[in-house]
Amino acid sequence: MSTTVIESGEEASRENASLRDKPGTGNTPIVRYQGVTKSFGDVQVLKGIDLEMMPGEKVAVIGPSGSGKTTMGRMLMTLEEPTEGTIELDGELLWHMRVKDRLVRADEKHLHRMRGHVGMVFQHFNLFPHMNVLRNVTEAPRKVLGLSKEEAEERAVSMLGKVGLADKLKMYPSHLSGGQKQRVAIARALVMKPKVMVFDEVTSALDPELVGEVLEVIREIAEEGEMAMMLITHEMDFAKEIADRVIFGADGRIVEQGTPEEIFENPQSERLQSFLQRFRAQGI
């Protein structure tokens, strides 16, 4: 993107400056939350989030339910508007526009342009029940990216092949298993070629025996590397294996972050220690 807004004062990321200096990614962050809060009525679910993600970085977000993890991801997808603070995407403000010296809420046109960089996979799949698998995956490339039917189908078929569903093109979502539905949803998000993808507890609604096939697909995508990923998850082992960095959130704040080793082997805060303990005790 062309217009890079350079914010003065980097206090947002003061605590973890070292983490951003990953080798080979010393350029602009692809995502940057600054002082982001979110209230629903009287309840403040996010109490000031500062976070940066570098291009291609895989960030896992863990934490107890109700910690605001999902809200964080939904803001990046423009499904939830921040109450305070700003989010930048590829160096450009996501939810705001600068008019003279003031920040104003972005209009739909701006949001539409910015959303082109982001994709999302939902906990409950949200496949379109009135379209078959192929149409689920080709609809947006045709209507939003303006691809021809042939181009869109070519792209979709290769993506569906990648998630192992090339033989299900003509089926309707109601005839698929949960794991298959989620893989279609992943393909549907991937064909839009986003720079950042939010995975919002994508295995939480699945039967235990179907979790593996979905994680396998995500692992493959992660290995390809170019796309930044925000993995909001309860799968600790998976987070450990895939993430470049793990963020632990609780009560609307980022309590601790670090490499998977730091977070899982050497937790600093009491909150994280007890969270991990409880998790291990449950054997999940």
Binding site: M77, R115, G116, N126, E139
Partner: protein, 217 residues
């Protein structure tokens, strides 16, 4: 004097033709009005919401027959003279459109929120979300209640008798006036003809519903 009830049929069928035409035109107007008002009531603009809410309340709050009388007999006093057909179609269409708008509105609201969110996540524009994702799903939900409304609409076309339009009911009542002793035969025949029309429509809608949902839900 007629020798058999069969002799009433040609006259009644002539009336049935008018009934069908009124029903078809009103149904088209009703569906258009239902979508405009139903979507309008979900608009972000309060002025649009208010105008649509007033339309719906006025047409649901007064009787169809009063509306018909008003359009046909009262409007000429402020300089608007409508032909019978226009008054009939406007009254029935707008009346059922008001009821239908509730069907449209609640069917749209019944589509799970996740469908809107998925459409946003795929960067569809607001009208694309509505047109490509929400409406196709909502339409399936609308079909059964619209089918019921269509049956009600066919029944309600009998009210055009009051503005002396030569529909099925009117023709039957003219026949009755001429052959009083055949009153029962004529009225039973009349009831049966309406019953057949209404049943055909409700069966048709059910078949359509089955066809559209086949293999999907």
């Amino acid at each position: 004097m007629p020798s058999s009830w069969i002799e009433f049929l040609p006259t009644l069928l002539k009336g049935a033709e008018i009934t069908v035409i009124v029903a078809l035109l009103s149904a088209v107007l009703a569906i258009v009005a239902a979508f405009i008002a139903g979507l309008g009531r979900l608009s972000k603009l309060w002025i649009v919401r208010t105008v649509m809410a007033v339309y719906v309340e006025v047409f649901r709050g007064t009787s169809l027959l009063v509306q018909l009388f008003w359009l046909y007999f009262a409007l000429p006093f402020i300089g608007i003279e409508l032909p019978k057909m226009a008054a009939a179609v406007l009254a029935i269409g707008l009346n059922f459109g008001a009821y239908g708008s509730e069907i449209v509105r609640s069917a749209i609201l019944a589509v799970p929120k996740g469908q809107w969110e998925a459409a946003v996540a795929l960067n569809m524009k607001p009208w694309q979300r509505m047109w490509n994702i929400i409406l196709p799903q909502a339409s399936l939900r609308m079909l059964p209640p619209f089918g019921n409304q269509l049956v009600e609409l066919i029944k309600s076309t009998s009210l055009v008798y009051f503005i002396t339009m030569a529909d099925l009911t009117y023709q039957a009542m003219v026949l009755r006036n001429n052959y009083i002793s055949w009153t029962t035969e004529i009225l039973v025949l009349l009831l049966l003809m309406y019953f057949v029309m209404a049943t055909l429509v409700s069966v048709g809608v059910k078949l359509l519903e089955r066809k559209l949902t086949a293999g999907r839900l």
